[in-house]
Amino acid sequence: MAVQTRKAPRGFHIRFSDIAVNLLLILIGVAIAMPIIIAIFTSFKTPSQVITFPPSVLPKDWTLQNYVVAWNVNPFGRFLLNSTIQSGLITLAQVLFSVMAAYAFAILEFPGRNALFYLVIGSLMVPFELVFIPNYQLISALGWGDTYMGLTMPFLVSAFGVFLLRQFFLTVPKDFHDAARIDGCGNWRYLWTVLVPLSKGSIGAFAIFAFLSAWNQYLWPLIITSSVEMRTLQIGIRYFMSTLDRGADWGPVMAGAVIAILPALAVFLIAQKQLVRGIAMSGLKG
């Protein structure tokens, strides 16, 4: 019976429970998405409309005033630039160094390899609280406080990236490597001309993950930056919000939130397929 329904052409066996499941999912989806939708529309409302009762989701008169306020009170352009540079540098370095280390752990053989790999796994468990005070002191002593160097240096390598990419590289048949070696292809060239193109999907997934984590960083940028000009978007937005009277100024607050969401949303939309696949894979292999 079960087998028959499963093989039936789609759309011919609509049962009540199927409709119920669909409706339930839509309901949950709406509940989850509602705050974002409200936030976006609120950011286009005039101050008087924000607090009208009963509230309406859609603005009556659309206004860009909130964005003008948000943009002028704070150098949001500068925050965006800072976050982009910071997240971009971290992503580039993490991808490059993770690909290299993952290649060594997955393909090459050398004394101490297993012990070093245990070190990678072990370092995944070290919480940030344990390292950030000495790191803060080191960065300050080097004079990198309040600079891009200070923002990025502690995060240029990623144990998670090494682990994740190694798991993917292990799925590429080793015969490829042997064949390339016989053809006189060195390690460096094999990595970049064969293995990396073959693993574009997983490397892409990790790159997006690295970018989003860097973009969402909060504690480190908070303590390492001191001038307004060096703030990342997350920090800038927090200060911006605290200057406003919450309750009365929801319009500009929501405009600020939308500005913070947009870049992450853009990255997500461009690459969501790979990201979703990568996460599903990493979960299974972890």
Partner: protein, 323 residues
């Protein structure tokens, strides 16, 4: 688990010292490449993870404040202070209490969503998947302000909805000790996207034959979930559980941003990590903060070990197959 299994694969060949000269030269070349490839990671690890970890241990035995040159050795004074510190214990209690409320939601809600998504007749599967995952990528500072607007007792949509339903005095979510944890749980729902996807991927990997067999044995949907789905995806649930538990012990950025980390209402949001953060940056007592950090790390480590041990009772690893 799978990491350890993989570790042994192909290892050891490089250590064979009695190989012919040509081969050993090749092996040495390969080893050099290996060290070259991992050197950036090793350098970064040494400077920004290992060295600071050791430094933090050392700090716990000192009276370090801001100025490192004035640091003196004080023995176990920080540990004595910590175990007598009522603020530390109450913040630990706050963390545990919130964890007990938050943990079931963080584990079962993604699972429930994945079960619903794993039904046959769904339209727009791709859309649902993206939609449930999407909030996960919203920068948390932005999400906190969106939720603060939603949870506002007067102008927030949630209370307006509750009033519309007929509730006369809807809760003052963020300022009421009874409601602040549910409010924080609601804020946290946007973070379930990751766990949801991992659950879903695992469920889709369960062989259909098992469900067919369960059906022939007369199992309904609940029974087949308990006897087929749950054991088959239990390794993934375990993985999520570890992530959630570790994350809950370190929870504090949301209250830090939401109410400037002042612990309101009535200390109910003075989480352990927030207390640690305050000792670092408000009281600028680095040595004591380091001690708190180590204590937290040990608690997390112990909890994780207990969870790993508990696997034998409820996590099912299909023999030989890593999926």
């Amino acid at each position: 688990m799978s990491a350890t299994a993989e570790l042994t694969r192909g290892g050891g060949a490089a250590t064979s010292g009695s190989a012919p000269l040509r081969k050993s030269r090749l092996a040495r070349r390969e080893a050099m490449w290996g060290y070259f490839f991992i050197s950036p990671w090793i350098i970064g690890f040494l400077i920004f993870t290992l060295a600071p970890t050791i430094a933090t241990i050392w700090f716990t035995f000192t009276n370090l404040r801001l100025d490192i040159s004035a640091m003196q050795f004080v023995g176990l004074a920080n540990y004595e202070l910590m175990f007598r510190d009522a603020g530390m214990w109450s913040s630990l209690l706050v963390t545990l209490r919130f964890g007990l409320i938050s943990l079931p939601v963080a584990i079962f809600l993604p699972m429930l969503l994945a079960v619903l998504m794993n039904q046959r007749a769904l339209f727009g599967k791709q859309g649902f998947r993206t939609g449930f995952y999407f909030p996960y990528i919203i920068p948390f500072v932005a999400s906190i302000f969106v939720w603060a607007a939603m949870l506002n007792p007067e102008t927030g949509w949630i209370n307006m909805f509750l009033r519309w339903l007929g509730m006369e005095n809807p809760p003052n979510w963020l300022l009421d000790q009874r409601w602040v944890y549910p409010a924080l749980v609601i804020v946290g729902i946007w973070g379930i996207g990751n766990a949801f996807l991992i659950n879903l991927a695992a469920m889709q990997g369960v062989p259909t034959e098992l469900y067919d067999a369960a059906k022939i044995d007369g199992a309904g949907p609940v029974k087949s979930f308990l006897n087929v789905t749950f054991p088959m995806i239990s390794p993934v649930i375990f993985y999520n559980l570890i992530l959630v538990v570790v994350g809950l012990f370190q929870y504090f950025t949301v209250p830090l941003v939401l109410n400037q980390g002042n612990g309101q209402p009535g200390g109910a949001t003075m989480f352990y990590n927030l207390y640690l953060y305050k000792n670092f940056f408000v009281f600028q007592n680095m040595a004591y903060g380091a001690t708190l950090a180590w204590f937290l790390f040990l608690i997390i480590l112990a909890t994780t070990m207990v969870l790993f041990w508990s696997q034998r009772f409820w996590v099912f690893y299909p023999t030989g197959d890593r999926k």
